[in-house]
């Protein structure tokens, strides 16, 4: 039962951290609950489909279909996170001001909520399909120990959700302006981490055979398979032994998002103009 709890917990926190950050980043935005709810529902449904089709998917691309699929969805998630970050750079300050003025209520329909909804769905889909396969395996083998493991799995889901809730609670306790720049930074690092992870999957599929030697090893500080290592992995893409291509892609993603966000940020004069306007003025 404890083993089941741990396995499910590990998968759930990975998705849960992403959901927690998305929820904090969209605090006060109308329709975000529906968006995150839809994302989770779509993710769970997708996870079941993915688990059911795991055999067929795995047989594609000379037995590497799964890696190609994982790399593609991670690539999509990276783009969605980048889009949101860059969009927030041009609108974030106005949003923070509106939230202060109206006590946290903002209804900005044009905000790319769908992008974050897709990220939530992808996170739940990726981690969820492993949970489904694992629990399905237990159900097939049956027996008394099977039930204990199902209970363990349920506890694992609850514990993972609790960690996500704690993260969310911690983030929203921070003043709005700083919280938005912090979640913006976290989302950028998360995007870079996902891009680097996509590279790792392509390498595992033998499709990106370039700079594949590990560059450093910080496993003695933080091991990949420890809970803290897993947390750092989902938050900022930590891996103890990154190889050259992963580092390059991580750096390029960070640089591209950061510079585009900088370019899109309104000039100080335009910003002064924006602050002079009433808080809810539509742009």
């Amino acid at each position: 039962m404890l083993a089941a709890l741990l396995i499910v917990f590990r998968e759930v926190i990975e998705a849960g951290l992403i959901v927690g950050i998305v929820l904090a980043a969209t605090r006060g935005v109308a329709g975000r609950g529906r968006m995150v709810g839809l994302g989770i529902a779509a993710g769970v449904a997708g996870a079941c489909l993915l688990a059911a089709g795991a055999d067929r998917l795995g047989a594609l691309f000379a037995g590497s279909g799964q890696e190609v699929f994982q790399a593609s969805v991670l690539g999509i998630a990276t783009l969605m996170l980048a889009w949101h970050t860059i969009w927030m750079a041009s609108h974030g300050r106005a949003i923070a001001q509106e939230m202060r003025a109206l006590g946290g209520a903002v209804s900005d329909g044009r905000r790319p909520l769908a992008a974050l909804g897709i990220v939530v769905a992808i996170a739940v889909l990726r981690e969820g399909s492993e949970v489904v396969l694992f629990l399905y395996g237990i159900a097939l083998s049956g027996g008394a120990s099977g039930w204990g493991m199902v209970v363990g799995g349920a506890f694992g889901v609850a514990a993972g959700a609790l960690v996500a809730a704690l993260l969310y609670g911690g983030l929203i306790a921070i003043p709005v302006g700083r919280m938005l720049s912090l979640t913006g930074g976290l989302i950028t690092l998360m995007a870079a981490g996902m891009a680097a992870q996509a590279v790792a999957f392509l390498q595992q599929a033998g499709m990106a055979d370039l700079l594949a030697a590990p560059v450093w090893n910080t496993g003695f500080l933080l091991a990949d398979d420890s809970i803290a290592g897993r947390l750092a992995h989902s938050l900022v893409g930590y891996t103890a032994e990154p190889d050259g291509l992963q580092i390059v892609v991580y750096g390029v993603t960070l640089t591209v998002i950061w510079s585009l966000a900088r370019v899109m940020r309104p000039a100080p004069r335009a910003l002064a103009h924006a602050t002079a306007r009433p808080p809810l003025a539509a742009e």
């Binding site: 795995g58 047989a59 799964q66 690539g75 783009l79 396969l133 590279v199 585009l260």
Partner: protein
């Protein structure tokens, strides 16, 4: 909407970065079978410093996840199906792997020499 051209550019960069090189055909390979939640062979010896493909065949009814943080590989192999993972060039040493869904019995090690 101004962001879209930039986004497609970054997409292009990412694709370029990741897709530049494809696997050479002439990689050494090893076969690994999962049966009754046990790997056989439990020890796989490979040459160090070379890419090696491992073909994994799962003879059990239930799925297993071939998982190794040392090898930087995680891959789900469905019940009754098979899959291939490519190992990066390894320094000489022992690299443990396990079946995450049955880690009490499904244990193995890759020895690079």
């Amino acid at each position: 909407m101004r962001a879209l051209p930039f986004l497609s550019l970054s997409a292009l960069l990412l694709t370029l970065g990741a897709g530049v090189a494809c696997a050479a055909d002439a990689v050494e390979s090893r076969d690994l079978v999962i049966k009754d939640h046990v790997f056989s062979p439990a020890e796989i010896t490979i040459p160090a410093g070379k890419r090696v493909a491992i073909h994994i065949k799962n003879m059990d009814k239930t799925a297993e996840e071939f998982d190794s943080s040392a090898l930087k590989v995680e891959k789900v192999i469905g019940g009754g199906s098979s899959g291939t993972v490519y190992l990066r060039p390894l320094a000489p040493g022992r690299y443990k792997f396990e079946g995450e869904y049955h880690d009490k019995t499904a244990q193995g090690v890759v020895i690079a020499q």
